[in-house]
């Protein structure tokens, strides 16, 4: 007999998400992903100064802060035909790299780790054995019996206080937790270490951006932080970058490998079929040719034949979302007529998120897509990092198409992008040394123009499109990573990537669907920005022509 399980609220994510699965004979046989909130930011932008847009859209998400601001200023610059100065390109690229570093570390340790790590089991660990194990698996600068004893004591005091706070009522003791107590203690200690490190890593944004979250130094035309292009500021940036990248090399990557070695079966669970990446990080400024993480599409897991991307092949479906109509349209010619209604997953509408499809297929975006596209295209740094991981875990490349692969890919790209940042810091130093302090290009706002900005951001492919009329925002649209990943079924009934990924997941205890959490969290859900585009009262129709 089958049974429906609903997880609402999904926690350890940004936004409001509801996941429902149908379980039969201990396995998920059907799944529904539903966005539970809308805010309407695109409507709010209409009639405003295009230079202001990036401040508004940045507030789509405070976890993946910065990225919407980046795509937004790029869209306006594209429309106005502005070529920004070299310093601005470098500062933006460094801020973008810092965002990957920060975001992925927080995701692994604070949003995802508790799906694999049983904190309560850590209380049973032997600190001496823990120290020994830690020496074998990680190159962390801390450790030793006394260290692990003190972490354990601290957790014990916390648990004994009877006030379990954020650890209360989780799935501790669940049979799907496989780590021995000592590994759980190491991971718990690193949860705390990473909590502290991320506060430092975030300072990378503050140096050239004034603050984090929501750095405030991007402007249409470049960046504002000219005063910070000083030797001491750049050195401060390099110092924090190094501390963070050392953590990635010596702690984050080894931790992924250590945890994964206990969960190799998850290399066969939670996979999807198609993968899309816009690509990002133009190494010499040429886009998209010099992208560190290349642009491309992989169909049906065919790594032998990575495809070129054609943005004309994007279509958005609304048949199963709370909007009128059922015709799939190119997003820039699409119409949006909201019809708020009941949650009807079986045959009706059930989400505020639309269902984008690439070449009629549902497509995953994010770290796994970027890493697969890079790997299939032979990008040397990614290829090496992927092969190292596969070798260490002794699993075939097919294991990449999974929950485990997704989580490993996030670590792999953090490493690759982090290493590249060193070069960009040096480029910035060289440029400033030449006496170039130009950070911003003056421009005239066109009366009428249109443009777009594409980026690949921590959670996946992101695009912002703008139409300007009378020097004001006439139409604004953004298509964001969680729309791709967490969207519902399309008109043809094809499942969204997260829905597809959940089918076949083993469920040991339907009352404690820990296994569902693992796969959902592996996509790094961030839902507030997925639902941002409607006006429920005026039922206004939006049409933005394709460029």
């Amino acid at each position: 007999m089958s049974k429906r399980i609903t997880i609402d609220p999904m926690t350890r994510l940004e936004g409001h998400l509801r996941i429902e699965v149908e379980v039969s004979d201990g396995k998920v046989v059907n799944a529904w992903s539903s966005g539970q909130m809308f805010r309407g930011i695109e409507i709010i932008l209409q009639g405003r100064d295009p230079r202001d847009a990036h401040h508004f859209v940045q507030r789509s998400c405070g976890v993946c802060t910065y990225v919407h601001s980046l795509s937004s200023v790029r869209a306006v610059e594209d429309a106005a035909g502005i070529d920004i100065p070299e310093n601005a390109k470098l500062v933006r690229r460094l801020l973008h790299g810092a965002q990957f570093m920060h975001d992925h570390i927080v995701h692994f340790y604070h949003l995802h780790a508790l799906d694999w790590v049983d904190v309560v089991s850590a209380l049973k660990a032997d600190p001496k054995k823990t120290a020994k194990l830690a020496n074998n698996v990680s190159k962390a600068p801390w450790g030793g019996t006394a260290y692990y004893k003190s972490v354990q004591d601290r957790l014990k005091t916390f648990v004994d206080s009877g006030q379990l706070g954020i650890l209360k009522n989780a799935y501790w003791g669940h049979s799907a937790y496989k780590l021995p107590p000592e590994a759980n203690l190491i991971a718990s200690a690193h949860y705390i270490e990473a909590l502290r490190l991320q506060a430092k890593t975030a300072r990378l944004h503050a140096i050239f951006g004034g603050k984090n979250p929501h750095p405030q130094s991007l402007v249409v035309g470049g960046v504002s932080s000219v005063k910070d292009l000083s030797p001491d500021r750049i050195a401060e940036f390099q110092y924090i970058w190094k501390e963070s990248q050392d953590f990635v090399r010596n702690v984050y990557i080894p931790d992924i490998l250590a945890v994964a070695s206990f969960y190799k079966d998850w290399g066969g669970i939670g996979g999807t079929s198609n993968f899309l990446a816009w690509g990002d990080f133009a190494q010499n400024g040429k886009e998209p040719d010099s992208y560190l993480m290349p642009r491309g599409f992989i169909k049906d897991r065919d790594l032998e034949n990575p495809r070129q991307v054609d943005t004309e092949k994007v279509a958005e479906h609304v048949k199963r979302s709370w909007y009128e109509g059922s015709t799939a349209r190119h997003p820039y010619e699409g119409e949006t007529k909201p019809t708020p209604g009941d949650y009807e997953p079986d045959d009706g509408k059930y989400s505020w998120i639309k269902a984008p499809r690439y070449d009629t297929e549902s497509s995953e975006v994010g770290p796994l897509s970027r890493v697969l596209v890079a790997y299939a295209n032979g990008q040397p740094q990614v290829k090496k990092a992927v092969e190292d991981v596969l070798k260490q875990l002794d699993v075939p490349a097919s294991a990449l198409f999974s929950t485990l692969g997704r989580t490993a890919a996030r670590g792999i790209e953090t490493l690759v992008i982090g290493e590249a940042m060193d070069g960009w810091i040096n480029d910035l130093v060289a440029n400033v040394k030449k006496g170039d302090k130009k950070v911003c290009q003056e421009f005239e706002m066109p009366d009428e123009a249109m443009g777009y900005g594409l980026n690949d951001v921590p959670r996946g492919a992101l695009g912002h499109w703008i139409q300007i009329k009378n020097k004001k925002v006439d139409r604004y649209q953004y298509v964001v990573p969680p729309t791709w990943n967490f969207g519902p079924r399309c008109a043809e009934g094809k499942l969204g990537p997260v829905e597809e990924s959940l089918i076949g997941t083993p469920i040991a205890d339907p009352k404690k669907p820990l296994e569902v959490l693992r796969t959902v969290h592996s996509f790094d859900p961030c839902i507030a920005c997925a639902v941002h585009m409607i006006d429920p009262d005026s039922n206004e129709v939006y049409q933005v022509r394709a460029t």
């Binding site: 609402d8 409001h16 805010r39 709010i44 230079r51 405070g62 706070g165 300072r203 470049g222 404690k512």
Partner: protein, 316 residues
Amino acid sequence: MDKEKKEEAFYKRLAEKGVTRRDFMKFCTFLTATMGLSASHVSGVAEVFAAPAKRPPVIWLHFAECTGCSEAFLRTMYPWVDELVLEVLSVEYHETIMAAAGHQAEENLQSALKKYDGEFICVCEGAISTKQDGVYGKIGGHTFLEVAKEVCPRAKAVIAIGQCACYGGVQAAAPNPGGYKGVGEALEMKTINIPGCPPNPINIVGTIVNYLLLGKMPSLDTAGRPLFAYGKTVHDQCPRRSHFEMGEFAPSIGSKEAEMGWCLYKLGCRGPMTYNNCPTAKFNDGTSWPVEAGHPCIGCSEPAFWDYMSPFYQPM
């Protein structure tokens, strides 16, 4: 563990992290000064972090928001957020960091409400949709409005964190498609407002410590903001202020004059209309703040700033 032992363990842990007792006291002094309390309170502030008898319960609710305020809270240093969560406070419900999900998460909320009825601090992040009975935002099948109405009136104090919870925020900007309002306005109740987009974590922590230390919330201005943080304008505390007095204004963003620290007033800076302590507290462990990074203040701690202060790049 008794108080003395706890205190000792606390300092030992600090020492292991390379933080000396002296560094810690320096932080406490900074925090005490930020809160506008006299130096005699410094030891009391230290005690709040070192050895609370029972950790005060906190229920942290998320409505229409971007989680930037929670992220800002995670950036706090000395005390680190793990200390706040493990040793200072008892965070009973917080969707972004709690281990439980779904039914178990809802159970946690209900049991905390029952156990700490009238005792807990409620922190609210995000705005509440009021249009069509708030149908545009739901948690566990309940609208934000229903959740807020159930939880907030039972709290000892409601602290609204960030522009959205205080005054509606970005989603309440014209034409406010979802009928979003700040928590105080949506519920018609008094809240302590810590606005900003996001607010500085020092002001979040300062408000909570103020409460733990003195047993009451700090004094507020007419917009519900603690005077210790929002008592002066950004302009009055700005390091570029002397250039304003001299009539030295940067002509464009990123210009040589901007680099030399000239005033950003003519580029749209809203510092003179904005009450906040950004110039003195700065963000991310004192690393910087927007005007230091050469960008005009956009006035993010003022009510309805998205409409009231924009277009941002036009001088006042």
